[in-house]
């Protein structure tokens, strides 16, 4: 992105730059979290909820180092995805004919959802802190960690639904000829991602089957849908921020430049 020299120091350029940094923090943090995900021994495959207490305790005793490394990484970097989601909030605020109430809702859900996510790794880390603890207690911490990690999807679900509704309202009230901020399919895709995450709330109840926390729906579908959404939204947001930059006159219109070079 090449910011035009004459607007370099204007607030609107600063706004675009900040959004651009937040946007690119997404893949960077995503990469770190992917490493943590791969390094956590309890994810490949996910620990079964049916494991007896002694086995759970042995898991923490045998894999202490990797559990500590991966969960500390989650602890340190997990909430660094917030700036990326804030780009969504910023773009929602630009939607036409809207009062920003959806953006406020999205922001609140984002803050609360992040605090939930920040809690689970603490339980994992406390369990790994003293693996020699009474196995009953280690299992309790393990249960809490997994349930907090998988089940509380309400806030993030709310974010997907709000984005879907906001896209719909943006489109419906678009009368003044300006293009919608996000393409219409983003709303539908967001809705589907949200629906895909709902079953994982049942991970707090079922110990076996696809709804258990190591199951197909609760673990693989939930986390896969979330990761896929992050990747897709990166490109959607990239387009949206670039278009805002062009509209605000912060960068040159790439199409105009293409046209200019063609005539040359």
């Amino acid at each position: 992105m090449q910011i035009l020299e004459q607007v370099q120091d204007l607030p609107k350029a600063g706004n675009i730059k900040a959004q651009w940094v937040c946007l690119w923090s997404g893949p960077a943090v995503g990469l770190v979290l992917l490493v943590a995900l791969l390094a956590f021994p309890g994810f490949w495959p996910p620990i079964s909820p049916t494991l007896p207490a002694e086995e759970v305790a042995r898991f923490y005793a045998e894999n202490t180092a990797w559990i500590r490394f991966s969960q500390v990484t989650f602890n340190l970097c997990g909430i660094m995805v917030v700036p990326f989601f804030m780009v969504i909030v910023a773009q929602m605020k630009r939607m036409h004919g809207q009062s920003h109430v959806f953006a406020y809702c999205y922001l609140t859900a984002l803050v609360s959802g992040a605090t939930f996510f920040a809690l689970s790794n603490i339980f994992f880390l406390v369990a790994a802190f003293r693996p020699e603890r009474d196995p009953e207690l280690t299992m309790l911490l393990n249960d809490l960690a997994w349930i907090v990690f998988i089940a509380p999807i309400g806030m993030v679900l709310c974010q997907f639904l709000l984005l879907a509704v906001a896209v719909k309202f943006d489109h419906a009230t678009d009368r003044n000829g300006a293009a919608a901020i996000f393409p219409r399919w983003v709303g539908h895709y967001s809705l589907v991602t949200g629906l895909a995450m709902i079953p994982s709330a049942c991970a707090a109840v079922f110990q076996t089957g696809p709804l258990a926390w190591d199951g197909l729906l609760s673990f693989w579908l939930r986390n896969g849908a979330f990761a896929a959404f992050m990747i897709v939204m990166f490109f959607v947001l990239r387009t949206a921020v670039l278009r805002q930059a062009v509209d605000d006159g912060v960068i040159a219109d790439p199409e105009a430049r293409l046209g200019a070079s063609a005539t040359r």
Partner: protein
């Protein structure tokens, strides 16, 4: 006025929809969500009215096993719907941002309420679900989860007090008359009940326990008055909102 759809909930005198469509949707959602929330916590999850603090570990296990099914259904549904709490709080914050005090107190409200979701809702859900997840656990551990859940649910005070405080300040300073001034005083009562609720961390029984007449019941009545007033105030202020204020809003990320 009808609760069946947003367009019939917030209307002008001639029954046509009033205010902005997106605000209308969230304002309509507010009482709907609280109704669902009330059903969940009172009828399903059984945390309101609260179970007794002054019982033995065996009694706590018995509570968890007797109500296991409804606790699981209630809290799983709550975990799915929890985002509604964020939305309802954000609606209040949105209306606060329209006050002459500007968005700063609105963001403080979002901060307080957003943080409060974890001790206020998440911990109790997770504790009770973990307790019912393995009812054969050591009864002392079930008792621990019971206490932890109830004390965090009833005793998460500061997050909400902070939010009530900034709400009261915003309403008192506001010149746009978004909310009536008396509602600021109601919010101050809420802070007072939260201050008294601190005592539930001291007393396992009596009027100041987490199910006590002062710590709980008076607080519930005050909260109900506060919430009921808020529902009507939000509806009225949404109906009065001019539709063409889109571009005048100034948020931190408003480009």
């Amino acid at each position: 006025m009808s609760i069946l759809s947003p367009d019939r909930y917030i209307t002008r005198a001639d029954k046509s929809p009033a205010g902005r469509p997106d605000v209308r949707l969230v304002t309509w959602f507010f009482p709907v969500w609280y109704a669902a929330f009330g059903v969940i916590i009172c009828l399903l999850a059984r945390v309101t009215p609260p179970p007794r603090p002054d019982v033995s570990a065996a009694d706590k296990v018995a509570f968890m096993t007797t109500h296991a099914l409804t606790i699981q259904v209630g809290f799983v549904v709550l975990l799915i719907l929890l985002g509604g709490a964020g939305m309802t709080n954000a609606l209040v914050a949105y209306q606060m941002s329209r006050m002459s005090t500007g968005p700063v107190l609105a963001y403080a409200y979002i901060g307080g309420m957003g943080v409060g979701a974890l001790p206020g809702f998440l911990l109790v859900s997770v504790c009770f679900l973990t307790a019912t997840f393995r009812p054969d656990r050591d009864p002392e551990l079930i008792g621990l989860l019971y206490d932890l859940g109830m004390l965090s649910y009833n005793g998460s005070l500061g997050c909400f007090s902070a939010a009530y405080l900034v709400l009261a300040i915003a309403v008192l300073y506001d010149k746009n008359e978004i909310f009536p001034k008396w509602f600021a005083y109601l919010s101050i009562w809420q802070i007072v009940t939260e201050v008294i609720a601190t005592q539930m961390f001291v007393f396992p029984a009596g009027p100041f326990a987490w199910n006590g007449s002062i710590s709980f019941w008076v607080a519930v009545v005050v909260f109900s008055v506060w919430l009921g007033s808020l529902i009507f105030i939000l509806r009225n202020t949404a109906a009065r909102e001019p539709v063409d204020t889109d571009e005048t809003f100034q948020g931190p990320t408003a480009g």
